[in-house]
């Protein structure tokens, strides 16, 4: 049970405070309700580029990192398709420094030309390092484009292409900032060795006078239900063939999400999972296999991907995957198998919650989803999943017409 208090400033900033006096540190986590899904299709990669710019100086403070480091703090940030999150940790005595820094960059960035030109280059190198200069680096670019025709999940957070990042200009930056980086679109979580009353004062003092901004109303095009199987083939200079197949699944708050998460674990979580045992160990078709899902706010994808053993054809690999998926649809999983993945989930949550930073991050994520209290009720939702539901969702998900298959050939 994670305890916390919640209050809202007049300008709409939601604040959550989670006290834990077993640590000498404080965590300040600021989450903005904007991700790559909110980008203009002609200017993708912008939410992430913007995250870099948030460190390029704000209206009163030329450099974000230096004063934080001087106060003994460390920070980082990440952007997903759904959200952007900034977090720092510092000795609790110096927490006001974090309020000063975070509130100033919410008030306004400095919008310096140099920061933009340098960070464009940095992000381009990041793009190259992770998605171009690595074997199979473009797999997910291609898969997203295959699986989504309308919804903005069709591009990666890093952006659809380098030119989108290259073309970003300072007007885009300003417009994006004042649209999304307003108190009314943000959630502040303060955790660790802190006192609620003191945090209330600090929040009011540093964030209270920032103009509310306009609540961002998201009107994203829903991805229409897929009605026929899609396939694509790629030929690339990689040493071995790779297989990747995805299916559309429920959104984060839909009922089927929990069953799907457990289904994913049953199929591919760990050395005793079904696909690992059947396809890597027994049939020796894949040298490695991964089953995962997006965990995204809007309808995501469940994915099975793996690299083939030399000499195995992609067709044979796909047939074997299909056979396993037919099994799980035809026959109910057994009690112990379901209990196993529930136990794993319980354990995973317990280990995640060890760190104050993770707890702060989770509180912000759940608050953004609509209710921080979800953090305390999630485990029960997994516990409540039944054998029948696993079967029901496996039948719903693994329909042929719901699938996207990518054959990644070694050329």
């Amino acid at each position: 049970m994670i305890e916390y208090n919640r209050f809202v400033l007049d300008n709409g900033l939601r604040v959550l405070v989670h006290e834990d006096h077993s640590t000498p540190m404080a965590v300040v986590n600021l989450m903005y309700d904007v991700g790559a899904r909110d980008e203009n299709p002609a200017k993708t990669g912008f939410a992430h580029l913007f995250e870099h710019l948030m460190f390029g100086g704000s209206v009163h403070i030329p450099n974000y990192d230096e004063p934080l480091q001087r106060a003994g703090g460390e920070n980082n940030a990440y952007t997903t398709n759904d959200l952007t999150n900034y977090y720092c940790q510092l000795p609790a005595e110096n927490i006001e420094t974090a309020f000063w820094l975070e509130s100033d960059r919410m008030l306004s960035l400095a919008f310096g030309a140099k920061s933009l030109s340098v960070q464009k280059k940095v992000v381009i190198e990041e793009f190259k390092e992770h998605y171009i200069n690595k074997p199979y680096g473009d797999v997910w670019h291609k898969m997203r484009e295959l699986a989504y025709k309308v919804h903005p999940y069709r591009w990666m957070t890093i952006g659809k292409e380098l030119s989108h990042v290259e073309n970003a200009n300072i007007d885009d930056v300003k417009a994006f900032f004042f649209k999304h980086y307003r108190p009314v679109n943000a959630i502040l979580v303060v955790a660790g060795h802190v006192q609620l009353e003191k945090i209330k004062q600090l929040a009011e003092k540093w964030f209270g006078d920032i103009p509310m901004g306009e609540k961002y109303e998201r009107h994203l095009p829903a991805e229409p239900q897929q009605t026929e199987a899609r396939r694509s083939e790629v030929y690339a200079k990689v040493p071995v063939d790779a297989f990747i197949k995805t299916w559309h699944m429920d959104a984060r708050l839909d009922k089927g999400y929990y069953a799907t998460e457990l289904l994913t674990e049953i199929l591919g979580g760990g050395g005793s999972s079904r696909l690992y045992q059947a396809l890597v160990k027994e049939q020796k078709l894949f040298s490695g296999l991964d089953v995962h899902h997006f965990g995204s706010t809007d309808k995501g994808l469940l994915a099975i991907e793996g690299r083939l053993v030399n000499g195995i054809t992609l067709e044979a690999a796909e047939k074997a995957v299909d056979e396993e998926l037919e099994k799980i649809q035809a026959l109910p999983v057994n009690e112990a198998e379901l209990q196993k993945v529930k136990n794993k989930t319980e354990s995973m949550i317990a280990f995640e919650d060890m760190s104050v930073m993770n707890r702060a991050n989770s509180l912000a994520t759940y608050e953004l989803l609509g209710d921080a209290e979800l953090m305390n009720t999630e485990l029960q939702k997994y516990q409540d999943v039944t054998i029948a539901e696993i079967q029901q969702y496996s039948r719903e998900i693994f329909r042929k017409e719901n699938s996207n298959t990518l054959f990644y050939h070694s050329k």
Partner: protein, 427 residues
């Protein structure tokens, strides 16, 4: 309250904050295996790590140590690989294994309530592993394939080569794996290594988390009767065989759009009197986000997504390494800037403001690093394996608080000599 946004709030210098390395508790099992524990945390979870002196330092044939370690979970007399995995996964536990240079570990993470069911299964893999031939065949095939893929990556190639240059291909810190090594690997090699280094090997045990009161009894019952720690460890020594050529530029992928840059020099281990001070100097140079390399090469020039320098955490001897992946067309310029930053550190004393910042940053980061029982035991494990005590911790902290600009400049002049560095660019 109207905030004054123009000036920073008052801070307490992190160097003035209380800094304590929580002491471990220790006891010895009946067979002489030492156990170190750190009790703490709110969640009902714990970790138990068994450290064996079974790293590649002690192997006679390449990758025997790593393969033995990996295959601990691939079959015992009673359970096949699937059953072993299923047992741990059913209880939501993680049994991980890792192979390093001197040591190899087996680590259990679990919820407290399942510990009793899990400990005997850990002992089973230490005493009854059989290394099935069929499992070995699968492992070799999949590892060879993974290697083939990794060999396409410039950073992977660069990491292998730079270690080879510094230590030599026949030193445990410098050697790496080839496809041939996998082909030559025999089941008998593993069985033999396992018997000597695990079943009859030398072991140290670490435990942390919200520890049950009867942990000592449980550990003694399960591990205290095993034939561990009877033999003293063989004293194996290796000669360093550093490369003659200092500069290497390699094209691994003609179409590559980035180059992996490594610039490294040999450096003594943490018993050397300069170690702590150089660690401080390293922070200024390339050890954190606000370092000189990062500020210049990423934040000013945008040549790379990240550039770092570090002292390798080896027990016997070490190296000081700069590493980055930079745009192909700016690799030369990046290398040049690294040397420029070395020269500046040799020439100009670090200013007071920067010194203070790095002191505070390092202390703050240390307080954060010591937050929680897993973090504390990890530090103790590192100290114990490196043969240092809490005196090392407190003297390092003292160094952070008191090292002077002149001392740092002298150390820069002593160690940051471009002629002493190997330079490698792999495209």
């Amino acid at each position: 309250m109207i905030p004054n946004r123009k000036s920073a709030p008052e801070i307490i210098d992190a160097v003035n904050l209380q800094l304590e390395l929580k002491p471990y508790e220790s006891f010895t099992l009946d067979n002489g295996v030492p156990v170190y524990t750190v009790n703490g945390g709110e969640q009902e979870v714990l970790m138990i790590e068994l450290v064996f002196f079974a790293g590649n330092w002690y192997e006679e044939k390449n990758i025997v140590a790593a393969t033995t370690n990996y295959m601990l979970k691939n079959g015992t007399k009673q359970k096949n690989a699937f059953a072993i995995n299923e047992h741990f996964e059913f209880y939501g536990a993680y049994l991980n294994r890792s192979c390093y240079n001197e040591t190899a570990t087996l680590t259990l993470h679990c919820l407290n309530k399942h510990l009793t069911e899990l400990l005997p299964a850990v002992a089973e893999v230490l005493t009854e592993s059989i290394f099935p031939e069929e499992e070995l065949v699968i492992y070799k095939q999949n590892q060879k394939q993974r290697l083939e893929i990794n060999l396409k990556k410039c950073d992977f190639i660069a990491n292998r080569l730079i270690d080879e240059y510094v230590y030599g291909l026949h030193h445990p810190y410098g050697k790496y794996t080839s496809t041939v090594d996998y082909e030559e690997l025999q089941r008998a090699d593993l069985v033999d290594f396992y018997k000597r280094m695990y079943t009859d090997g030398k072991c140290i045990l670490f435990a942390a988390g919200k520890l049950p009161a009867d942990l000592g009894d449980q550990l003694n019952k399960v591990f205290g009767q095993l034939p561990l720690n009877r033999n003293s460890l063989a004293d194996v020594q290796y000669n360093l065989d550093p490369a003659i050529t200092k500069k290497n530029h390699i094209i691994n992928d003609p179409e590559g759009v980035q180059g992996a840059i490594r610039i490294a020099r040999p450096f003594p281990n943490r018993h050397h009197p300069d170690f702590s001070k150089v660690q401080f100097l390293n922070n200024i140079f390339g050890g954190f986000f606000g370092s000189r390399l990062m500020t210049n090469i990423r934040e000013d020039k945008g040549y790379t997504y990240g550039i770092h320098s570090h002292l390798q955490n080896h027990i016997h001897t070490s190296a000081w390494v700069v590493s980055t992946e930079a745009g192909r067309d700016v690799c030369e310029a990046t290398v040049e800037e690294v040397y420029k930053e070395m020269a500046v550190l040799c020439k100009e004393p670090v200013g007071e403001e920067e010194l203070d910042l790095v002191r505070n940053y390092m202390i703050g980061s240390l307080i954060g690093d010591l937050d929680g029982p897993f973090q504390v035991i990890a530090r103790w494990k590192n100290y114990i394996l490196n043969g240092v005590t809490d005196a090392y911790f407190y003297s390092s902290v003292e160094t952070v608080k008191t090292v002077t600009a002149e001392e740092l400049r002298a150390l820069a002049q002593k160690y940051l000599d471009p002629m002493a560095f190997y330079e490698l660019v792999v495209v």
